[in-house]
Amino acid sequence: MNKAIHMSLPDATTPTDPSANIVSVRGITKFYGSDVHALEDVNLDFPTGQMTTLLGPSGCGKTTLLKIIAGLLETTSGEVMVKGKAVTSPGPERAFVFQDFALLPWATVTRNVAFGLELTGVPLKEREAKAKSYIDKVGLSGFEDKYPHELSGGMRQRVGLARALAVDADVLLMDEPFSAVDEQNRRKFQEDLLHLLSVENKTVIFVTHSIEEAVYVSDQIVLLSPRPGRIHSIIRPELDRSSSPDDIRRDKVYLDTVEEIWGNIREYLD
């Protein structure tokens, strides 16, 4: 029996309640140049305090949508609302975790984690203290003075995550954060991330191409169709988050949801 709940697509005309949805996108269409049509009329709400995953086959525009929300890419039409206000550029309420980490190779772990604070002019002592506390939270104590090339892929992404947490944004935007991390570290990292987010109370928008990862971490999964990207369906896996990670991965709802999404995505691959 499949307990995952399917929701109707949000209507472009419905006014959004900013307290329930911290981020909303309305009528987003994106063309690269004149011929590549990446996104077509995307309307989405991101509920406050929840983890929403953008999932879909490659080329469906999920990273494009994430970078538009981040203010790193311009839309062709449509708008992004953050806390009820339209935004077109990066802002303090959003922080980004990059697929390939985007760490400064010449800076230590501490300076990398503090870099977001450095850019907004936080004094050295204060930002280093804050960086230290997040380095501890992501499990990198003892590596404060190392350089990125001295760390493994998984550790580098922990630095990227700590940097995003340190600026204390309400919304974390994560672009395939585990795709450059090996499988064992990926699982450990997913568990640590869920634990950390339950403490930090963030809204997360997460891009992935891994169905299992999406179902495991998400409150809400947005399945996108390939180019031009449109919303195929929105799925809310009703998993019992209080059980252990291994039990969740053996849970019938978890397995059924993964199967169902795979069935949907398979259509596009033929």
């Binding site: 790193l72 990059f98 010449w106 850019l119 001295e150 600026v167």
Partner: protein, 271 residues
């Protein structure tokens, strides 16, 4: 000459204890240098040419010139246009190169000049320089600048132009201003290639100053070389040539140290 660490030397250090012959990196480097001088000494005795002195003869001549002070006087003369020219080339070269990497209009303005300069046989331009600037220090400084600046400008431009787009995007995502993006991300990111250009530029500056001293007016080291050649005191001529090679290598090595110390501290470790 002795400041760079080649990968071969590192592996010799790490295989220490397993190999029968235990040699440290320093010992290997010394062997390399001593071997070269030994080969020179032997070929000087063969002799390859009456104009080719032995290593020991060359070193005797060098000590002679060091103790009578003539080598220092010569360097004092040579260093004036060299340091002036290299300093001007480094400052304006890096500035122009950075602006070319960041700005399309600056690129269109400067690129043709420096590409043509880099491709042209500069020795042919030196008579023109003497027409314009006479035979004094100005002409020699201009010769240094003409040789050193294209390499510095073009390397800087390419390094800045190819700055990592991911890091630039990261800086924007964390609300970095354009100035922060340039100073905290693009320039440090480009530093290794900018410094490679500076090292090549300094080496080219040495070529420029020696060319100028040989072709414009014989002063400094160029004078020692051409004078001793004309009176067939070959050991003295070779001693001057050797000293300028060593001096140039030491300067280039010092630049590399400065780069690692101030711009790329991560290179000190784990490489």
């Amino acid at each position: 000459m002795t400041t760079t660490t080649s990968p071969g030397v590192v592996s010799a250090e790490s295989s220490e204890g397993t190999a029968g012959l235990k040699l440290s990196g320093l010992q290997l480097r010394l062997i390399s240098i001593v071997g070269f001088f030994l080969a020179w000494e032997i070929s000087g005795h063969v002799p390859i040419s009456p104009a080719f002195p032995t290593f020991s003869g060359t070193m005797m001549a060098m000590f002679e010139m060091i103790f009578d002070g003539s080598l220092f006087l010569a360097y004092f003369e040579t260093l004036k246009p060299l340091l002036l020219g290299v300093g001007i080339s480094a400052f304006f070269g890096v500035t122009i190169g950075v602006s070319m990497g960041l700005n399309k209009k600056s690129r269109w303005l400067w690129e043709p000049i420096f590409v043509v300069l880099q491709a042209s046989p500069v020795a042919a331009l030196i008579p023109l320089i003497t027409y314009a600037y006479g035979i004094g220090i100005t002409a020699k400084t201009v010769a240094v600048i003409i040789l050193a600046s294209p390499i510095i400008v073009l390397n800087t431009y390419k390094a800045v132009g190819n700055a990592s787009p991911v890091l630039v995007q990261m800086s924007r995502a964390f609300q970095g201003t354009r100035m922060q993006e340039i100073w905290k991300v693009i320039i440090p990111n480009a530093a290794p290639v900018i410094f490679a250009g500076l090292r090549l530029g300094v080496a080219a500056g040495f070529i420029g100053v020696i060319l100028a001293e040989l072709l414009i007016t014989p002063t400094g080291i160029g004078d020692i070389i051409s004078y001793n050649r004309s009176i067939a005191k070959y050991p003295h001529m070779y001693a001057a040539v050797l000293s300028i090679i060593v001096f140039s290598a030491v300067m280039v090595g010092m630049l590399e140290k400065a780069e690692v110390k101030y711009f790329r501290p991560e290179k000190k470790r784990g490489q």
